[in-house]
């Protein structure tokens, strides 16, 4: 799409959407949001960029190919899911640190599960959509 308005808007929207996706990711434990929605918002940012600049320039923008994010996200999620087994608790039980860290707050295994889902969703969505784009070009 060769629309100058969309192109200019994307320049500003890309960082804002990415920041917003991280915000959604982090508030997800007690409020609406989480890794899946955050990941979708982040991938929408990149999809918007690929609409205006083409898939190849979006791929150059990303430090790794999106399909490389899939195993990374999976290993983070699966580890935090099965880590409680080592502690003798059922899988997927939330493990939390004893004392809250200043500024950041409480950190538990649920956070890492969500971060894993975040990367997994970005990886899967972008891989699927970009391969469809490139297939039809």
């Amino acid at each position: 799409m060769k629309s100058i308005i969309l192109k200019t808007a994307t320049e500003y929207l890309l960082p804002i959407l990415l920041l917003f996706s991280i915000f959604i990711l982090l508030r997800g434990h007690y409020y609406p949001g989480g890794g899946f929605v955050g990941g979708l918002i982040a991938s929408i940012a990149f999809v918007l960029h690929s609409f205006t600049h083409g898939v190849n320039s979006t791929l150059r923008l990303l430090p790794v190919h999106p399909s490389g994010l899939v195993p990374f996200g999976l290993v983070l999620s699966a580890t935090s899911m099965l880590l409680p087994l080592m502690a003798g608790k059922p899988a997927m039980t939330g493990l939390w640190i004893e004392e809250p860290i200043p500024v950041i707050g409480m950190i538990g295994s649920a956070l890492f599960f969500d971060i894993g889902v975040y990367f997994l969703v970005i990886g899967v969505v972008l891989t699927i959509l970009f391969s469809i784009f490139q297939y039809s070009e």
């Binding site: 195993p71 699966a78 087994l85 608790k89 059922p90 899988a91 997927m92």
Partner: protein, 506 residues
């Protein structure tokens, strides 16, 4: 009894799949990791089976949420027997795939997807939550779509369209059933559902809901009016893939059907008659279809359908003896069907084709392998004392007690046609002289003789392994019968299951 051990058959496959994703494009590492994982999971499954068989039903409450509210994983004898058989089949397919799957398919990620598939199977067997069962079904079908289309030949993607459309439709029916079930009971835990459904006044509503599940699982198990996707797609992917599909995927449908009809929707007269009708026609159509097919894998696909009917027939009679027979048949079928498709793959390696018109003379070329294959073929046909014979004995007994003579007739016809088809295949593939090449057809070549010794071992040893298990099922039928009778008593009296999940004071 709460024990987190039971999640390991699922977790190890998940980690293996992730590890394989990190080892992308390293085909040798893929093969080694896959075989090692399948072997480890087999040992774990044996331990799980002995734990459950010699002790109590094990449960794990995911996320420490108490039973009716959170997702529970339950290992009773039925679940862990199927996990055990799955692990045997998965090990055999892993070894066979290492030599039988082309390098390009491994580069496209055959092994990670295979482990996701087996993870889904183990999860489906172990879960005690009906929506979680749906999720595992989806894990299974998404992995199976990818396995089916891997390679992307024309026939393959054509088969995959039919397979995909029918399986998504089945999931939709299943999910609709779950939605209605949640609407009328307000719970998703299978043990809790068992109590709440039994207490419902409106039996017609329950029957309608049960029909959604029967249709959904029926498509997956390939029963009579819903089986057409199976013979039109199972002959297309590589044999190692179809071995997993034919041995295990349809059996998950059977497992789910047994689980819901014993635990949640205990069949009344209407449902029993419906299942009986389905069983008779599944046996007849499946066996008649097998009669006319000249391609080995197409013929086996119809035999899968035919033998699904035997198990449904056992369920339809719904007495202790009948269910025991159906269960023994299920165990036998998982082992033999997996092995049959591995054999089809081996025959293709040996002779370059699977068309029975072009095959022949295998017995003179490879007498030892032929004898090995003969064992498997005879146990499929049910020649005593091999494993296919004993469950039919139970089914006949149950049929005579319940006066279901039509079903008995259908089982006899199905067995004889299976025997005839197998005998014809034996004559065509092994005894007949190979047809003269009249110069028009392309030259068929034996790609087996030129393989290295290690590859030959990898192709033959899984067949030996599964044949040995089949022989054990046949010659030590006493032990298998004990397991099956134990499962039957668990199915007909679900109180221990419910107590294990919900606690003594539900």
């Amino acid at each position: 009894m709460i024990d987190n051990y039971l999640i390991l058959p699922v977790a190890i496959h998940l980690f293996a799949a992730i590890l394989l994703l990190f080892l992308w494009r390293r085909t040798v590492a893929h093969r080694i990791v896959s075989i090692a994982t399948s072997f480890i999971v087999m040992l774990l499954s044996i331990r799980l089976f002995s734990k459950v068989y010699n002790g109590n039903i094990l449960i794990m409450e995911a996320g420490s949420w108490k039973a009716p509210f959170g997702i529970v994983f339950v290992a009773d004898v039925f679940s862990c027997t199927l996990v055990l058989l799955t692990s045997f089949a998965a090990l055999a397919v892993s070894i066979f795939s290492s030599a039988g799957i082309s390098r390009s398919r491994i580069l496209y990620g055959y092994f990670p997807i295979f482990h996701f598939l087996v993870m889904g199977l183990n999860g489906a067997f172990l879960t005690g939550d009906i929506f979680n069962l749906y999720v595992w079904f989806e894990v299974i079908i998404i992995s199976s779509f990818v396995l089916m289309t891997l390679g992307g030949r024309k026939a393959q993607v054509e088969g995959a369209v039919k397979y995909m459309a029918m399986n998504i439709l089945a999931s939709t029916f299943f999910l609709t059933g779950i939605g209605i079930l949640y609407g009328i009971t307000g719970t998703l835990n299978m043990a809790d559902l068992s109590i709440k459904i039994a207490a419902l006044e409106n039996r017609n509503l329950v029957n309608i809901t049960a029909l959604f599940f029967i249709i959904g699982f029926g498509i997956k198990a390939a029963v009579f009016p819903l089986y057409f996707w199976l013979p039109s797609s199972y002959h297309t992917p590589p044999s190692a893939v179809v071995a997993t599909f034919g041995g295990l995927l349809t059996k998950v449908g059977i497992y789910a059907l047994f689980r819901i009809s014993t635990l949640i929707f205990v069949p009344d007269e209407f449902t029993k008659n419906l299942l009986l009708f389905i069983a008779v026609f599944t046996i007849l159509t499946g066996s008649f279809g097998a009669l006319i097919k000249r391609n080995i894998r197409r013929m086996f696909s119809y035999l899968i359908v035919c033998h699904i009917g035997f198990m449904i027939g056992g369920l339809a009679m719904f007495t202790g003896v009948a269910i025991t027979g159906a269960l023994i048949y299920l165990f036998h079928d998982i082992m033999v069907k997996t092995n049959m498709f591995l054999i089809a793959g081996l025959i293709r390696q040996l002779k370059g084709t699977m068309n029975m018109d072009k095959l022949g003379g295998l017995y003179t070329d490879y007498p030892k392998i032929s004898l090995l294959i003969a064992i498997v073929l005879f146990s499929l046909a049910g020649i005593p004392p091999l494993s296919g014979f004993w469950p039919k004995l139970y089914l006949f007994e149950a049929g005579f007690i319940n006066r279901q003579y039509i079903l008995i007739g259908a089982i006899i016809i199905g067995s004889f046609i299976t025997l005839y088809v197998i005998a014809k295949m034996w004559a065509d593939v092994f005894w007949k002289n190979p047809p003269e090449n009249d110069g028009r057809g392309e030259e068929l070549k034996d790609s087996f003789a030129t393989l290295s010794l290690s590859k030959k071992t990898m192709l033959v040893s899984p067949i030996v392994f599964l044949a040995a298990i089949s022989l054990y099922l046949g010659f030590c039928a006493q032990n298998i019968t004990e397991v099956a009778e134990r499962i039957t008593s668990e199915m007909l009296d679900t109180t221990p299951y419910i107590e294990a999940v919900l606690g003594k004071t539900y």
